[in-house]
């Protein structure tokens, strides 16, 4: 561990903690904000923070399995919890009207539209992983603190963009059909699974065969576990949206 690594840990962890404090501040002032969402945001923040700060990143330097644990927490579990906590909705409610309008306008911007498209988000997310593990980038990441930071920021942001592009919790300017999002989700999980199996036999430079096997199996089954949660939520949204109209009339 060099000083650069400690600084890298701080740079990565600080934004999560800061945003969490802002979220808590806004949530407690908002009387109608559900406690469930507060719990999800705190859980998501905790998952992200322990993956970039403390023993996990330090051990991940030498252990591919620990690295993969951190990757699942930062790139999959934290984004899922944070998306479910609806931070954008909370911000729109908490901000003064002019600022909220600005935020809403930003959400409709071309940049957000492109990034939040399910296909773009999938390519950034899964494509980024292929790039990291099948090129020399993985070895480079351990040599340079700057590259380490960039990669970890990317893993989180791409994971968040992907999750938010598949399950709509916060307002989305451009919405895509359930069928389309389901197809993209299946393709993304397939890409994740194929990469896991590929790494089983072709580990990144500097990772031993046994470590690669344990790490890739964790990646494979961990990805399944988080993705089935996304699938259940996506299908649940479909179930609610596909409610027959007659039944609604009776229930009212």
């Amino acid at each position: 561990m060099t000083t650069a690594h400690y600084i890298a840990e701080g740079i990565l962890a600080a934004p999560f903690i800061l945003v969490c404090l802002l979220y808590l501040f806004a949530a407690f002032r908002d009387a109608g904000w559900p406690a469930r969402r507060i719990g999800l945001f705190v859980t998501g923040t905790a998952a992200a923070v322990i993956s970039v700060l403390g023993p996990i990143p330090r051990m991940a330097h030498d252990s591919f399995v620990i690295h993969m644990t951190g990757h699942l927490l930062l790139g999959m579990l934290a984004p899922l919890c944070l998306v479910l906590a609806a931070p954008v909705t909370l911000a729109l409610r908490a901000l003064p009207v002019p600022a909220a309008k600005k935020l809403a306008k930003m959400l409709r911007s071309r940049f957000v539209t492109i990034i939040s498209h399910p296909v773009t988000a999938t390519v950034l997310n899964i494509g980024g992983l292929w790039f990291l593990y099948t090129t020399g980038l993985y070895a480079l990441m351990h040599a340079s603190a700057l590259i380490y930071i960039i990669i970890h920021v990317h893993i989180f942001l791409a994971g968040y963009a992907f999750t938010a592009s598949i399950i709509y919790i916060d307002p989305m300017p451009h919405r895509y059909s359930f069928l389309f999002r389901s197809g993209v989700l299946v393709a993304a999980l397939a890409g994740h699974g194929i990469l896991s199996k590929y790494l089983y036999v072709s580990p990144p430079a500097g990772v031993g065969q046994e470590a690669a096997q344990a790490g890739s199996m964790l990646m494979y089954y961990g990805g399944d576990a988080v993705d089935i949660a996304i699938m259940v939520i996506l299908c649940w949204h479909w179930y609610k949206a596909a409610r027959p109209r007659e039944e609604k009339a009776v229930a009212v």
Binding site: A190, G193, K197, Y220, P244
Partner: protein
Amino acid sequence: MSEKNEAMLRRNQKNYAGRNILSGFLFGLGLIAFIDEVVFHQLLHWHHFYDLSTTTAGLISDGFFHAFSWFATVAALFMVADLRRRQSFWLRRWIGGTLTGAGFFQLYDGLVQHKWMGIHQIRYGVDILPYDLVWNISALVILIAGIVVWRQTSQMKKQKETV
């Protein structure tokens, strides 16, 4: 059930005949893939996570089928909930779909993935022929049973239409 309710149920089932089959088929696909994973990969350790003879096509096919079957299980059960909510769930037709899906996937896995793409074999260090025969013949039996039940319900549907 009164006669009127029964007639309504039949009409609903007929209107959602396609969704009953699709839901059953997806569930069958997911169910057999899940059994494969739990029994042969996790419990018996007969199947390998990765076999060195696996082709690139096999790796991709396996990845997509695994992801799709995982999703299919969840989607199929939500479709069952939807059919029940619409009072149009048709158990017989759904089972027909399930058997068809399960048989189809097992046959695809047994012939295309195991044999042609060489993803992995059923078991290692044994004479593989009897295993392959049991695997694929049972798949074919399940598939045919599914298609028979499916066809029966389709005929029931036609009779209802003429009544």
